[in-house]
């Protein structure tokens, strides 16, 4: 995965839709170079001054973009991703929620074969405050340049915790939404590997939640990989009922699989500092940075 830098051209897929339009404006305002939009049948129009093309092949051909932000409805996301990847996009940030699992798996397979990365789906995207670049929908007021990398399965919880980290005087080297679905294009473990090679990152905060075994896998990865950057985690859902999807398709406990307790104890055993509430995160970040 390559993080976008200031000035890198970005394409917004389904730029003419309601969310595509709103967030194109907000991405431009922050500083992202939204160089083109794609929307089948809408070629020739302009949205917020950004030219719209019918296909990703045209949009990429005109701009040389390597990254796209996907606001395409769930039913059509797979074909939009296919359009993007075959056009040469290497970083797909998929905001769309409610994509069928099999479409997500197909998307991932296609990305893997073509050396592309997928962020999400069902995520707020990513932001690099030092570059004033965001590919996503997060409110920029919560973020400031800094040395904490923030990875989150949840959107609003990412904003909430970013805000608290920022208010505590730290900031984010990168913040990235892993996504609320059972299948994630980029996992927390992959994010950790990525920031290991990112000198401006000095600590990592991972925001997890009930469902699946992503945090248990992360804990095993932390133990095995021998990374140098301290990790702080917060896991939502200690009081959630079993067998119920809690808003996110991925946030569901089956039997004893996917409980917050299991995740917290696995992370603690791997030496991760675990916050019990979002407001505890900044003090643990401070402790983690002090430990180095």
């Amino acid at each position: 995965m390559m993080l976008p830098k200031k000035g890198d051209p970005v394409v917004v897929q389904n730029i003419t839709g309601r969310y595509g339009r709103i967030h194109t404006r907000m991405m431009l305002d922050y500083g992202t170079n939204v160089a083109a939009g794609a929307a089948p049948g809408k070629g020739g129009q302009a949205v917020e001054g950004v030219p719209v093309y019918n296909t990703m092949a045209e949009a990429v051909g005109k701009t040389g973009a390597k990254a796209s932000v996907v606001f395409v409805p769930a039913e059509f996301t797979y074909s939009a991703a296919q359009d993007a990847i075959t056009a040469g996009i290497k970083l797909l940030v998929v905001i769309t929620e409610r994509i069928p699992i099999r479409d997500e798996l197909k998307m991932l397979e296609l990305a893997r074969r073509n050396g592309a990365s997928i962020i999400g789906p069902n995520c707020p995207g990513l932001i690099v405050p030092s570059q004033r670049v965001k590919l996503g929908i997060m409110p920029v007021s919560a973020f400031a340049p800094g040395n904490v990398a923030l990875f989150s399965r949840s959107g609003t919880l990412m904003y909430e915790i970013a805000d608290q980290i920022t208010r505590a005087g730290f900031g984010q080297s990168v913040a990235l939404g892993i996504g609320g679905d059972p299948i994630n294009g980029t996992t927390a473990g992959e994010c950790l590997d990525f920031v290991e090679g990112m000198p401006e990152t000095e600590a990592v905060v991972v925001v997890g939640e009930i469902g699946g075994d992503a945090e248990e896998r992360l804990a095993r990865h932390v133990s095995k990989a021998g990374h140098t950057k301290p990790v702080v985690a917060y896991i939502a859902g200690r009081h959630a009922p079993k067998e119920k999807k809690m808003g996110h398709a991925g946030a569901i406990i089956y039997g004893n699989f996917g409980t917050a307790e299991s995740k917290i104890s696995a992370l603690k055993a791997a030496g991760v500092l675990v916050a019990m509430t979002p407001s505890e995160v900044p003090s643990l970040v401070s402790r983690a940075l002090g430990r180095r």
């Binding site: 798996l105 399965r153 994630n184 200690r238 009081h239 009922p241």
Partner: protein
């Protein structure tokens, strides 16, 4: 909204894919059970149709061999509450004498980001604790006979069982792929005296995000009044059994608010996620829904504004308050225009707090 099917629905799908199941009849009352009993070979098994787990332990599965017992047991089973769920129907099924039990499922392995086959030569019990489990990833486009026979070989099944097993695995995978299931499970898969394999139980969970491609599942589940309304409004909603309605924007934020409530000794009446944009009319619809929950005594609102304007949230609250009596609202609303929102709510019957923990403490104490 988790789309788990009832056993009888899952077995209908199994039959459509030619996976062998025992003969059975669905009954909706004790009389229906007696009627079904007459039409089947005895003994039969009465099986409560509930989605909750642990129905066997709860007395929801019972074998009977005469009509009087069938009537009596049917009345008892209809009176059960299994994990809070009352059976609306009983599946009356011919009992199938067998020598051994296998376990077979096709499911999504989230961590591996792949579908997998899980099989063991000892079914019928808790699969999580089973040893000698065969776990094998499957390609998205499906499996072939070679794959299926390799799983049978790993289970050390002899012919003709191996071929029969492979055939069932092929059908189960096809079913899982075509119906877009998160889980398709046979537990137990019984081995009859003649080496026949029969699915005694069936557990199918479908991907609810794929329902737009599967109109056949559209009307499978009766929703309660509140769940129906929430889903029409596009809210993520889970009814819980406490007295504090928890409303917020974003699944993770609401989940973390539930934890704060629980830690403070409170009990949530519901989880209600408004979703991303929290405009005035959405706030109003959510508050009105929460307010109508009979068990709700107080409403906790936790909004991280961000892009949403706090004044919109305040307007939604004011509109709700103007519409009739509303249970006490405790709110934390942060984000753009926070101060203006506070000004608007001055004098209104809403307690505003600076942070989520403060709002939670107040709502739990009921001050």
């Amino acid at each position: 909204m988790a789309m788990r099917l009832f056993e009888y629905q899952a077995k209908e799908i199994f039959r459509a894919y030619a996976i062998p199941t025992p003969k059975s009849i669905l009954a909706h009352d004790a009389g229906g059970v007696a009627e079904a009993f007459k039409g089947l070979r005895h003994p039969v098994v009465l099986k409560a149709q509930v989605l909750a787990g642990g129905r066997g332990k709860a007395g929801g599965v019972v074998s009977v061999s005469d009509e009087a017992a069938a009537m009596k047991e049917a009345s008892r089973v209809f009176g059960l509450s299994i994990g809070g769920e009352k059976p609306a129907s009983i599946l009356v099924e011919e009992s199938y004498p067998h020598e051994a039990e296998l376990y077979l499922s096709v499911s999504l392995d989230r961590g591996e980001r792949s579908y997998v086959t899980i099989a063991t030569a000892a079914g019928g019990i808790d699969v999580e604790s089973m040893s000698g489990k065969v776990i094998r990833k499957m390609p998205l486009e499906g499996i072939d006979e070679k794959y299926a026979m390799a799983v049978a070989a790993e289970l050390e099944l002899a012919e003709p069982k191996a071929s029969r097993f492979a055939s069932i695995l092929l059908k189960l995978e096809k079913l899982s792929r075509e119906k877009e299931c998160e889980l398709a499970e046979i537990n137990p898969l019984a081995v009859g005296r003649d080496g026949e394999l029969v699915a005694l139980d069936a557990k199918v969970t479908v991907d609810d995000n794929a329902l737009f491609r599967h109109p056949e599942f559209a009307k499978l589940h009766p929703e309660d009044e509140f769940e129906g309304e929430a889903s029409r409004e596009g809210f993520a909603f889970v009814r819980l059994n406490g007295d504090i309605a928890v409303v917020g924007n974003g699944a993770g934020l609401v989940l973390s608010t539930l934890d704060l409530v629980g830690d403070a000794g409170g009990k949530a009446a519901c989880f209600l996620d408004l979703g991303g944009g929290a405009q005035q009319d959405r706030i109003e619809a959510a508050l009105k829904l929460a307010n109508r929950l009979p068990e709700c005594k107080r409403i906790l609102v936790n909004i991280y504004g961000g892009i949403t304007r706090s004044t919109e949230v305040a307007q939604g609250m004011l509109a709700t308050l103007a519409s009739g009596p509303v249970k006490p609202i405790y709110a934390r609303v942060s984000g753009a225009d926070e101060e203006a929102a506070k000004e608007m709510l001055k004098g209104a019957k809403v307690q505003l707090y600076r942070t989520a923990p403060e709002a939670v403490e107040a709502v739990v104490k009921g001050r």
